[in-house]
Amino acid sequence: MTTASSAPGGLNPLRQTKPRYGEAIIKGVLVLAATVSLFTTFGIVISVLIPSLEFFGEISLGEFLFTTTWTPLFANPQYGVLPLVMGTLVITLIAIAVAIPLGLGSAIYLSEYASPRARRVLKPTLEVLAGIPTVVFGFFALEFITQVVLVNIFPGIQVFNALSAGLVMGIMIIPTIASLSEDAMAAVPGGLRDGAYALGATKRQTALRVVIPAALSGIVAAFVLGISRAIGETMIVTIAAGLQPNMTLNPLEGMQTMTSYIAAAGAGDVATGSIEYKSIFAVGLLLFVITFVMNMISIRLVRRYRQAYQ
């Protein structure tokens, strides 16, 4: 549209834009920030993969995965990783048995029942639990759970045992499960709750039959993330479950997990380049693969749940 104020001799030529150096610098810094984690992950994969491949050059994958004796530091070493996998599995299952009911219960309470004031107090308190260093949890498991609580229930229990480590690890991951599940339930549109209440549903029926099914993929993703944390947890198991590889399902005995083997062997005097040294990386690679698969499952579930209301 033309106005009286436009230049009588036509438009001024459009000036060429000046290069904006500040913009380029900012962009470079941000790209760097975004790629640091990418390069780190890549670096970790490489640094774990190379010694692992060397390890598997000497020990067959079949022997590693399917034999049941793990004695890498003995004079006649054997490299069957199953006792470590078993230790991880038993302790993780105990942790899940604690964390899923308590975590989901807390989430349902916080999301559906708690008054706004109770929620304001309880949710941050729950999240404080997530901030306690795992070494503190480890000593809590060893000194209190085992030596004060469990010895009175199971007189034959070993000082280092899978049960105390699993129980305390379960307590540790309650906040992860509760907080993420609560987020998933809070993201369920209020209209669904209104719809259920308007049909004469009670709070329990609304929570269990409408809100939880609607939030299910988010809740399952919370479980998977909690389980991943349990599998990768090191300090509690190193302190409370002992360092003895043990091919057993008895939680009253000591066990070694994949993580506590890595921690213990890494801290010990293992010669760099030796087969014992490379076994640390092989176990690390197995752990990486397991948690990677768990995280992929969780990412996929979270994505599906995000799409649910679009």
């Binding site: 669904l192 209104d194 308007a198 049909l199 009670t202």
Partner: protein, 298 residues
């Protein structure tokens, strides 16, 4: 609550279709006759100085009115006039909002639904509600309809009930081969009819509708309006709408609400005028009603 009258019990017959209905003008031109008399033959809700608060904030000022059985009553008015808030107090949905409370007397068939011994769950079973956004559950079409009867422990042949309710909601023919499909696969208008089917599955007497067509296109809206007129033969319907043409098209009676702004600038909803729709839209008594329906404000 066991004392509440059975809504299906025979009542003094005063079939609205025979009570001095006349053919309505083109403005309101619809086959459903509308009443001309201010007197309501059969009262379902009797409100006496009903006030609704959210904490210290009074959202609705003293409302006194009656809602007639098997009539469609429309609540109209500008945003923030308290009409939805008032509607949600009819089945105690406001109980779910912390700090909300209702004062005055809100009687349903003569029983104060806010009496301490009244179970809000039972109130909501008898007084159903349809919301602005079609809030279907993330379940199959069948399970959506069956949800209410299941949570209420109704002993019925569920297949028959689902078919009956979907038929009643004018949805059966469109979904009868897809009952196991997710309700999310339906269009917005179909979802809203599914919500209506879900609502009538628990056999309520009253259906409250809070802007049920606000998110729908005109064709889907027309279907819902037709459905409302059919349902009014068996149900008492109260609808909140922003659409004055909709109120004129479907309702028997119209209540116009507006918001007063007090000295501190806080808005309080109040009932301005209530009467037969035909009169409200042709010869309103209050100038504010006239301004609103003629589009001069709101």
């Amino acid at each position: 609550m066991s004392e509440i009258h059975d809504p299906n019990a025979p009542q003094a017959t005063s079939d609205l279709a025979n009570t001095g209905r006349m053919d309505v003008s083109a403005v309101l031109g619809e086959e459903r006759g509308t009443p001309l008399d201010d007197a309501i033959p059969q009262v379902v809700f009797d409100l006496n100085n009903v006030r609704v608060f959210y904490g210290d904030f009074q959202a609705v000022r003293d409302v006194t009115m009656q809602i007639g059985r098997h009539e469609i009553t429309a609540f109209i008015g500008p945003s923030g006039c308290g009409k939805s808030t008032l509607l949600r107090s009819f089945n105690r949905m406001n109980d779910l909002i912390p700090g909300a409370r209702v004062e005055g007397l809100l009687a349903y068939h003569g029983y104060n639904i806010y009496a301490p011994d009244v179970d809000p769950i039972e109130v909501r079973r008898r007084i159903g509600m349809v919301f602005q956004k079609p809030n279907v559950f993330p379940k199959s079409i069948y399970e959506n309809v069956a949800y209410g009867p299941k949570v209420n422990g109704m002993k019925v042949n569920m297949d028959d009930l689902v078919e009956e309710c979907l038929t009643r909601a004018a949805l059966w023919d469109e979904v009868k081969d897809d009952l196991k499909k997710s309700a999310y696969a339906l269009s917005g208008g179909q979802q809203q009819r599914l919500v209506i089917a879900r609502c009538i599955a628990v056999k309520p007497e009253v259906i409250l509708m809070d802007e049920p067509c606000a998110s729908l296109d005109p064709i889907a809206t027309a279907k819902i309006e037709d459905l409302m007129k059919q349902l009014a033969a068996d149900y008492t319907i109260v609808i909140v709408t922003h659409n004055m043409q909709q109120a004129a098209r479907v309702s028997d009676r119209t209540a116009f609400f507006t918001a007063d702004v007090d000295a501190e600038g806080v808005r309080h909803g109040r009932l301005v005028e209530y009467g037969p729709t035909r009169r409200i839209f042709t010869s309103p008594k209050d100038p504010r009603t006239e301004d609103y329906i003629s589009g001069r404000f709101g």
